[in-house]
Symmetry: C2
Subunit: 266 residues, 2 copies
Amino acid sequence: MKPVRAFLDNIAVVLHRPHFPENIGAAARAAKNMGIRRLIVVDPLDCDLTRILKMATHAAEDVVATMEIYDNLREALGSFQYIIGTTARTGSQRRTIMDPRDIARRVVSISRTNKTALLFGPENRGLANRELKYCHALVTIPTSQEFASLNLAQAVMIMTYEIFRAAEQPPESFTPKLATSFELEAMYDHLQETLAKIHFVNPENPEYWMRSLRRFFSRIGLQAREVKIIRGICRQIEWYGEKMAFEAVRQVRAQDKGIDSISCLD
Amino acid sequence: MKPVRAFLDNIAVVLHRPHFPENIGAAARAAKNMGIRRLIVVDPLDCDLTRILKMATHAAEDVVATMEIYDNLREALGSFQYIIGTTARTGSQRRTIMDPRDIARRVVSISRTNKTALLFGPENRGLANRELKYCHALVTIPTSQEFASLNLAQAVMIMTYEIFRAAEQPPESFTPKLATSFELEAMYDHLQETLAKIHFVNPENPEYWMRSLRRFFSRIGLQAREVKIIRGICRQIEWYGEKMAFEAVRQVRAQDKGIDSISCLD
């Protein structure tokens, strides 16, 4: 057995709206089994520590003790540079769905320089599209067609197990440091505002184009510097609009003044 | 997603002395997720169906409904031709410990013609040596060195997941039909008796050599025909002993008679 790799400290398990404290505890145990110690819980329905700790067992107490609890997902994911969403749904999404083994190899490479989140949805319905939009990659755990719904902690087990196993393989090529979700989301807000302003997207229904843009940027994997460039372009577009408005007003005013002076001459 | 392969019907999850009904239910669900529907429980501490079904969920109800319950392990394993024992212990055993991924590939090949059991021990201590002796192969799920103890149902999840994944790969070479555990155990009993008779093993402590013989035969993978041959040899050894005894007695009797007749002649 090889020692726990340092990069595992860059990986967190994020549970969005878990219903049962037992699943939080079992997920903590599974993560700890595979050397992952950071657990984030977003808007849990019930966070009964006794029930959590019963399933976590004594050995994963530290994971529960340092568990972070957030009210909303966007905030919880803010500091992460790479977010992997788990989903059993393959129909509705038009995005590429990856295999746990392939994504695990990518995670080993990316997490050396980037905070990486493994995001899991609620027990009853999984992650909705509005939650999957934060993700850079989607993964589906292969199952029997008869019964595809895995228990939450079981899904955590398989994903963390695959990552632990992938660490035994030589890593893929070096991945540069990516922008955080906080930086990305602020960029998307900015971009949406700008694109609405220039009437590239319909302000009443901006989602269609924004989804495409998210998919495009997620596939590339933006770095912080590139996020700054895109926001710079947005600012310049706004500046341009304002400048055009200002110039137009000045011109009109100049014309008005001319007319005025003409009228004064009368 | 590919259809459930027929060979998965030849695989059973066997839980030896599970303590918590929730783990039985969660194991049933995990197995069903990966297309395995046969669940055997041996001497469970608590078999509360309500608690089992809560974790199994509606979708794995059929696995629980057809679950087989046995009093003793030997009987439970009787009909299986290939038995894989899961163990976290690597120190005490001098047998080769396999990786879940490697054993999964072997299972895909073997289970096409052989009933295969995945054997899991009790939550608190795992499988003891007296239980591991039934196994043809041992497997340890790799974990962080810090915390190696997996939840029972989580271990079932990983093993069944690996087998399901291995089914997607082209199978290894063909494996012939092996002897059942029932046939093997009867052979080992017979062998031990015979070896004690010929003073190859100490009747007070036959375990040392018997363990070596089990390891040897497990590695080979005996077929039913070969088991018959070995038992045939045992029978012949006994026959030989009896024959030697009989002849010796006859000879002595003949001598006695000779002596008698001589004495009669006196």
